[in-house]
Symmetry: D5
Subunit: 155 residues, 10 copies
Amino acid sequence: MEAASLKARIVSELQAVKRRSGKTYGQIADETGLTNVYVAQLLRRQAQLKPSTAPLLRAALPALTDDLLLEMKQPPLRSYDPNLIQDPTVYRLNEAVMHFGESIKEIINEDFGDGIMSAIDFYCSVDKVKGVDGKDRVVLTFDGKYLPHTEQVTE
Amino acid sequence: MEAASLKARIVSELQAVKRRSGKTYGQIADETGLTNVYVAQLLRRQAQLKPSTAPLLRAALPALTDDLLLEMKQPPLRSYDPNLIQDPTVYRLNEAVMHFGESIKEIINEDFGDGIMSAIDFYCSVDKVKGVDGKDRVVLTFDGKYLPHTEQVTE
Amino acid sequence: MEAASLKARIVSELQAVKRRSGKTYGQIADETGLTNVYVAQLLRRQAQLKPSTAPLLRAALPALTDDLLLEMKQPPLRSYDPNLIQDPTVYRLNEAVMHFGESIKEIINEDFGDGIMSAIDFYCSVDKVKGVDGKDRVVLTFDGKYLPHTEQVTE
Amino acid sequence: MEAASLKARIVSELQAVKRRSGKTYGQIADETGLTNVYVAQLLRRQAQLKPSTAPLLRAALPALTDDLLLEMKQPPLRSYDPNLIQDPTVYRLNEAVMHFGESIKEIINEDFGDGIMSAIDFYCSVDKVKGVDGKDRVVLTFDGKYLPHTEQVTE
Amino acid sequence: MEAASLKARIVSELQAVKRRSGKTYGQIADETGLTNVYVAQLLRRQAQLKPSTAPLLRAALPALTDDLLLEMKQPPLRSYDPNLIQDPTVYRLNEAVMHFGESIKEIINEDFGDGIMSAIDFYCSVDKVKGVDGKDRVVLTFDGKYLPHTEQVTE
Amino acid sequence: MEAASLKARIVSELQAVKRRSGKTYGQIADETGLTNVYVAQLLRRQAQLKPSTAPLLRAALPALTDDLLLEMKQPPLRSYDPNLIQDPTVYRLNEAVMHFGESIKEIINEDFGDGIMSAIDFYCSVDKVKGVDGKDRVVLTFDGKYLPHTEQVTE
Amino acid sequence: MEAASLKARIVSELQAVKRRSGKTYGQIADETGLTNVYVAQLLRRQAQLKPSTAPLLRAALPALTDDLLLEMKQPPLRSYDPNLIQDPTVYRLNEAVMHFGESIKEIINEDFGDGIMSAIDFYCSVDKVKGVDGKDRVVLTFDGKYLPHTEQVTE
Amino acid sequence: MEAASLKARIVSELQAVKRRSGKTYGQIADETGLTNVYVAQLLRRQAQLKPSTAPLLRAALPALTDDLLLEMKQPPLRSYDPNLIQDPTVYRLNEAVMHFGESIKEIINEDFGDGIMSAIDFYCSVDKVKGVDGKDRVVLTFDGKYLPHTEQVTE
Amino acid sequence: MEAASLKARIVSELQAVKRRSGKTYGQIADETGLTNVYVAQLLRRQAQLKPSTAPLLRAALPALTDDLLLEMKQPPLRSYDPNLIQDPTVYRLNEAVMHFGESIKEIINEDFGDGIMSAIDFYCSVDKVKGVDGKDRVVLTFDGKYLPHTEQVTE
Amino acid sequence: MEAASLKARIVSELQAVKRRSGKTYGQIADETGLTNVYVAQLLRRQAQLKPSTAPLLRAALPALTDDLLLEMKQPPLRSYDPNLIQDPTVYRLNEAVMHFGESIKEIINEDFGDGIMSAIDFYCSVDKVKGVDGKDRVVLTFDGKYLPHTEQVTE
């Protein structure tokens, strides 16, 4: 609880820093070489800020204090509000995963073998493209290392 | 229940047709011009077979009977077994969606406006690429039309 | 949590502005050209105030401050208290949706094809009519764009 | 369980009768003077067939046997499969109800008083209209009697 | 949240007014002509105080302020703490409803037709009687209007 | 599972006996001196048939076989399908219990002391009365022994 | 909520009184003639303090103020934190009840008839004994009145 | 599923053996030196039959076949139907455990130390006694070894 | 459902093969060089049999048919019955994971960095050792590759 | 609630003491002879500090006050935040337990008999080893006393 409210307070400060900067996640991503989703994860303490990236992020967001940077370098306790599933955007992503999930699994099995897409060695980004009808489309990319289930042999 | 068990029986027959063909979802996708995930969805009755695609699919899977094709042309009741979330592949996709969900939503808001990525006007595919370490990576693409929340005016 | 309590505080202020105005949602709807439900959604931060509508809303509710209008222009995180289902009015709507849901789906399939009614390109209003027995009736209208499930072809 | 499987079997037979007739719910509605949703409810035993309507329904669906008509005249145990919420069409209706629910409730309070829209003295229909962009729209109408909460006085 | 805590505060004040009056719900019921359960509902904002009853209630509870009476006249958002089911008294009522529910439904069907007992046009009271063994018994009466399910005809 | 399906089969037979008798629960109640709800409970194995009542019940339902009567004399495992809460009649009873529950508890406390209404030494009946508007009303009576919480003293 | 936090505060004060007394629940039980579990229930407001016991309890815990005693004499709203099931001691009790439950029920049926063990006219105590291996054993005794399910006859 | 249905079939046979013997659990307990609850657990495959007890049990229930005894000697997968909590007897035991749980835990802590009552080295029995009012009472005894939480030192 | 019942049937056959062999998981593990847990996983289709291991397994279990070996080489849909948590052995493992989970996570963070223990590149075994008191102890080893959360940079 | 927030405050202070010491759990474990996981459990009040260990712990963490040590010597109410399962590290442990659980149980049955691994007489540690590929691996060891299910004989 204490830890959760500390995290909430830090995230609130990080969001304020971003808001005052007037920059979007995309702009910060461009300035730091990170994916736009990862920048957003950093600014809500869902990812750890790597030491080598800290100066790049501070360059993009000069209002980041040393204290905030120090906090951002700690491994976070990853979590989410279960009610987040109510949000229409998040629900539709979840719907796609659950409805297409078994198909995705079988294609991975056919094309790679008995294994999974890692959610740890993993990249995620959101792109904006034009559809054939000239309308905007959201392209979400999940790019994760293939991890084969190991055979558990005794050494 | 009756409808559910009918669907289960049809899916079982469709999977048997595919198994006997010796083809992967990817091969059928190449022959039909569909995404690999969509082919898998068709073969488990999670998508409707369009009339113009039926001949292409039968060309790829000649063992498809007229009865099966007729069934596949019905709009399905889309569903999934809730225990599917136990599967490691599906869980990790769900984990990514829930942990990154709020960030993805905010980036859509910044880059597109107040709207969502449609899960209906939507494409999904699984690709295999090499990472910088030469290891296989799974790339999952969600490509959905941007739908702005309408302002509800009286006409 | 922080964001949720900020939203709660803003909604509380918006409700106070409305209460002091002495106007109903219906009156504000008439003055702004919005549906009555949409006005209510705006005043609880469940919808984004469009720039062109802001002056109309302020004309109807002059006590709206610049700060409140600025907040109302942000894309909201749409959510609800799960206990809301306990309220008799909301429960009965949910009951109708769940008990009639499969029938509604099949009629959409028969009359439109394999697709859905969008909840994003969507209008909602509440009207008061007289029944044949002279008693009041509530008429709730959901009016959403038909979205066909796309066939997922590779380009 | 026994009752549930009996109901499932009857519904299965009723759906077969309809399928063989080649008629849509809308056509049967036109021939019987019922709403399209109510016809669908009758054919899945979610509503009781009234004696005076039985001849009209048999005229529309001559394959209905006396046994089926007898069953349809019993008050049903209304129910639904909880997984129905997974279906995209049903989910979006539920989403609208939960996200707009509190607003709808408050407008009923303002315009009618402290009461609800009945889900029992209730009409429901699905209509197809053209939007201003010429695209199809689904219009779902819920029309229920207003029921004021009674003051509980001792007589 | 804001609304919930406002309601909690009002209820707390109403309970204090009652406690200081030294009266039971039964005594207030006798003085106002309301059922004892309804009085209790009013004093926890689960029912709306009707204008004509306000003077009677204030006569019974003179410490009720104008502000409190004004609040009590608003239509409440009806709700309960889900943990209330833990209370032995409430659990046993729920147990009776769930274990006897299907029987009650069928008797209503046999004696009235295909309809329900309204929980809106509804009276509830608690009485104390002596059993044949001379021991106290609680008699809980639910008295609700019979509402037949309407046949949904198009006009 | 075995026990549950045995119970379901017995209930199915009991319901068939009743259906063929052409009698309502109310008529059987009149002939046996039991409450109508209790008769219904007996015929779905939610209550134990007492030896002295068996001849009365067989007189009312002569088609009851010795085997069925033997089964009915066993103490049943009381249970219900959790989905029963979906039925509109049952839901509204549950709604009343949960929304009025805390008030009912407090009135019992004021009028009886710190105890509960037993659901074991308990009577339940459904009656049909006319309201002041001449319309039918359902009156459901729960009549249970008051059980005071004992003070736990060591002897 | 208000009531819950009042209860929490009172319990906190009662626990402080006990802690400062340096006495165990067992010692207070010995001094008051109550079971050890019941003393603990009193000191967390899960039981009502009877007037005749109040002097005995104050003799054992002289720091109990009049205000606290007055509160303890109110019938409490019995409740528990659902997460309590996480505690290893509580979980194992729950495990025993659920795994042995059906057997316990059947033995009561065989030895007493169709009825239950009351949890209201009920005693509970914890004792410490030596096992045959000389190790400590916990003996938990539940002692409740047998309540036969009544046959529901009309008078 | 296969294993579960095998277990259900074996239990069904064991119950039939007992029923045909005409003996109660208590009588079998007397003849075998086991607790009555443990006999019931054995006859529903919730406990393993020890080799030295097998002859005693067969002496009490001669109809037990070799095949059944062989099955009874396997370590069972302990389980229960979650709906068992609906049964009034089981619910009341669960209610007692949850409402008294924290008190029981604290008394164990005071009288034994930081540890639990084992549910594995554990005895359970049901006894019938007369209360001071001459009425039957159920006494349920849980007798488990005290297990102190170990301090986890490295060796 | 079809797939689930196929899997259940295969597992049932595999278990029968093992039972008839009279070998334990440990013996099969010794003969194949696999961990004992992995052998058990293979024989319930929770792991894929690798081609190079198939001859070793058939040598240990000669009754394995070609059809069974073919099935065992398919990537399984990993799943479990949610009620498995009721089993005392499984519950205690789950209890340990949930109660120690946050500590384990923090130690991994301190000793390895911001990452996890893979459950895919993962070994698991059960060993039997003697404690200092000469009593048997179960040692369960989870041995998984450390996977650092990647920093998501754009290439 | 009060107790929970007290625990949260103490944990917060203990974590601050550790942070200021600059030591890892592993270093404190080395200095005190405890396992690393157990040290972490002590510092979040999930285990009781034994009197003989208190001086060792204070030697390792001199900033521990007498008040904190006094608190740490109380038997804690063991608990966890249910959302902890969202954390990727904790989820994967849970996944392993649930997916391998039935296999682990059967191996314990084969190698030890009908019993469990205690989670009370239990050791847990996290180690860092090199895999054959030179990469870091996490080794988690659960070491618990084997507890056989007792046969419940009457003495």
